[in-house]
Assembly symmetry: C2
Homo-oligomer: 113 residues x 2
Amino acid sequence: MTVNRNLVSGSTSMLLLRLLSEKDMYGYEMIDTLSKRSNNIFELKVGTLYPLLHSMVKSGYLSTFEEQANGKLRKYYQITESGSRYLGKLMEEWRTHADVVDMLIGRRVQYEG
Amino acid sequence: MTVNRNLVSGSTSMLLLRLLSEKDMYGYEMIDTLSKRSNNIFELKVGTLYPLLHSMVKSGYLSTFEEQANGKLRKYYQITESGSRYLGKLMEEWRTHADVVDMLIGRRVQYEG
DNA sequence: TTGACATATATCGGTGTTCGATGTAATATA
DNA sequence: TATATTACATCGAACACCGATATATGTCAA
């Protein structure tokens, strides 16, 4: 996130929910998956991840269950019905805002809603 | 900025610099222009604008001059050489990050750098 | 002419997002 | 057996943004 770490901030919870809409994951798996899929451009830090996951559990967007793997207890996160609805909302918002920004900096010639 | 104000945050200074790369403007003019061009989607608040402008002046990205208009003293902001370079950097970053987010949420099929 | 509204500047405090630093503990590997 | 990796977690600091608030002038309608 180099120079301006907040350039696309706020999209983090959207990306996590999007991942979990594919399958249940544990924390480190989310970081790895995001990192690999983005060619290391999106490098989520644990100090960001866990507080975010906890807050989304508290908000009812995620539920958790634990599972033994390689002797280690892994905490899996699962998206809820409410989380899916919230994800839809965030994606819609992202599209609107990103398009407006693109339009304003001249990446798209005109904004068409 | 409705539900998630931070969805495209950090892009504010980029948008302001982009505006000023067209012509010198005073504070309110920037708010109005951004608002009108985006069909009221991007509504920058004065509490955000002025501290940001001041910090960019301090960083050397902007310079200022005052001009009388309708009896009122308007403070115009002008982009500097350094500000133009910084804008280029921010736009490049925005493109990279926004593309990655789009790819991760499945808006683009594959990320091609 | 006066009160309301718009224009225009500015600051302050609070909230939310993110990360670096730090801590703990188990497994894998050299 | 020492080191690295995996995996969980919290805390404090920095930063972005906004609502509230303050001040002052111009415009316009009642």
